[in-house]
């Protein structure tokens, strides 16, 4: 059974196609404010990548913060449920899922048999999320994909308190003006994001195994910080960590059928 899942996040739309539980293809497109259009474009791209026609897909499921903007017919799913399912698909033994996204960080504890035990989102503040990283990239005038390698190179970390994204940006600018090495600033920033995620995990509780998903999971420096602060190892996903929620949506559609 060929099923599709679409996750419209705050910053990007992710679309995946599964067949009998195997990942056939996926697409990630930044929203740039064009929510409905991007969902269409993402669908078109993933169909092209898999060589499938839209008619061959038996179920379309939408989830995410912007799911109501998906223009093609679809059923909707709770984001938390999708994240839980997707995480279990990626790693059947996972109990704690830490999803660090564009604007929201979510921690879910799963029951042993799957299913959500408890979940919690970050405070309404962008400082511990992808948004803050994007802000920093702008302030430092570095392309996003250079940030993680920069953090890896740094000899030490500049201090970023980042109680608030606005203050955090101000801190970054202060460091730049003081002539601090950009790599050190980035190292401080990614450390702060990891620490924020770790604090959220501790508010909920930790049960091994811990899986990190979401766009920010691509930042090794953030993962290192998370592990350091949680004093435990985490697992990474084999596929792109940004599509886990969309996978969960597709799986929910399959089950519904």
């Amino acid at each position: 059974m060929i099923v599709l899942g679409c996750d419209v996040g705050a910053l990007a739309t992710k679309t995946v196609i599964l067949n009998d539980g195997s990942l056939l293809g996926w697409d990630i497109t930044p929203n740039e404010g064009r929510l409905g259009q991007v969902a269409e474009e993402s669908l078109a791209r993933v169909l092209k990548a898999t060589g499938l026609d839209q008619e061959e897909i038996t179920s379309f499921s939408g989830t995410g913060w912007g799911k109501k903007y998906i223009p093609y017919p679809h059923r909707t799913e709770s984001l938390i449920n999708c994240l839980a399912r997707g995480a279990r698909w990626v790693r059947p033994s996972v109990r704690t899922v830490v999803d660090i996204g564009g604007l929201t960080t979510t921690v879910i504890l799963l029951k042993e048999q799957g299913g959500v035990l408890e979940y919690r989102n970050n405070d309404r503040c962008a400082s511990g999320t992808g948004f803050f990283i994007e802000l920093a990239a702008q302030a430092l005038e570095l392309p996003l994909d250079e940030l993680d390698p920069a953090a890896g190179r740094a000899q030490k970390r500049a201090h970023i308190g980042a109680q608030c994204a606005v203050f955090g940006e101000s801190e970054i600018i202060s460091h730049v003006n003081d002539g601090v090495e950009p790599s050190e600033i980035v190292a401080g920033l990614t450390y702060a994001v990891g620490l924020g995620a770790a604090t959220l995990v501790r508010r909920v509780g930790i049960m091994p195994e811990i899986l990190v998903t979401g766009g920010v999971a691509k930042f090794k420096s953030v993962i290192r910080s998370l592990e350091e602060n949680l004093e435990t190892e985490t697992c990474l996903v084999a596929c792109d960590p940004q599509i886990v929620v969309a996978i969960g949506a597709a799986l929910a559609g399959a089950e519904f059928k």
Binding site: S78, I80, N81, V116, E118, N121, R124
Partner: protein, 464 residues
Amino acid sequence: MTNRKDRTILDNWKTTGELATFILAQEGLQSLDDWGGKEVVREILPEKYQANFDMVQPDLINTILKEKNRRSASAFVKNIMEYADWANQELDSGKLACYHYFPISVEIMLSMGMVPICYEVVCGLNSALYTTGTEEGIDRIEADGYPDHLCSTQKGTAGYLLMGLTPKPDLLIKTATPCDASNKLYEWTAHKFKAPLVTMETPYYRNERGLNYMLTEIKEMIKQLEKITGNILSEEKLRSYCLHGNEATNYILKIQELKKKTPCPDTGWHRPADTIFMTQIGTPMGARYFKELYEEVKERADKGLGVIPEGKKERRAVYGYTWEAYDLPLFDWLEEEHGVTYICDTLTYLSPDVGLVDTTNMETMLKGLAWRTMQMPMGRQSMGFSDIWINDFVNIIKAYKANALILGGHVSCKHYWALNKLLSDKVKEETGVPTLRFEMDMFDKRFTPPAELRRIMEEFFTTL
């Protein structure tokens, strides 16, 4: 209508009460759309109500028109109207405007010939009724350099006072509980408007020593009030108001007891109103409001009726913090869409410990009022150690067979945010009930707007 600027808010409430009564009386009107929508309904209204109708939240009107909500709605609008009218008349007759903190019962104020105006209700009721809410009051006080992290339950009114939309205070009465934020805005108000501030300490400990101290504070307060008003507290008058207060208290406790039944026989939309009318404990209209609610709840309970659609599974939600004033329709939506009933929250739960005021003589009455001040919502939870708040909710969840705990924390509440993990850990440990956590601002809808609230709730209740 007084047509006085400083009675704007009172006048608006009166008109809203009248227009709501008018709308409720229209045959066959189950929602605004039934009659062709908001614009059409506006045209059938008498002209004197039209401007006010434009201000009222359309969703709120739709909510109160529903069959299951009509009776409580009638009680609600009657009280708003009557209070506004009464307050205007009393103020016109020269009585002093006494702004007080919401859990301070009004029996003493009434006995000494003052007009009690609850500081928090002035902006809270605006938040509940109108699309414009109380944001302009909030913005006004913040424009003067006062911080956003103060509590919107005072900010709104502080702004209105600066804008001259509510009567100037002749005096203020505040308990030291619950928090520094509220204390400071009362102090600001007293300073700005040159009104005496009468404070009552609430003891940290809930024992004999604590109660004696509370009693001393009430007596001190009375002395100060006697100086300010030139009136002596009469035992007879106090007794008559205390009897009304006991009546209201009795009904509140009875309703609470009935909510233990499954399905819950009480509609949720009026929870914010329930807190608002707790400020009327001690008045005949307060007693009447809770009597009317009780009669309806009892009727349903006797017949085993609930308030959610047929076929939906009941999810009994306890709010470990409280409601959002700007979105009464939310609680109706939760019932209809998700079968979620609203058992209680920190501001509507009145601990059965409260008891009744012994009206034998002045001393017994004052002691009873002192004790009640220590049990009233918010006072009880924040006077002393957080164990009370936490244990109360563990017990409530068990006693009411709740299966969801909603912790929408008010952004300004430092108490709540300091104890929320202790609370949710204990609830998890002792009851295993799933918890939803999010941030909101009780009176400022911009922080977590109604659409966002529904998204958050839907996420939780479809995940459960």
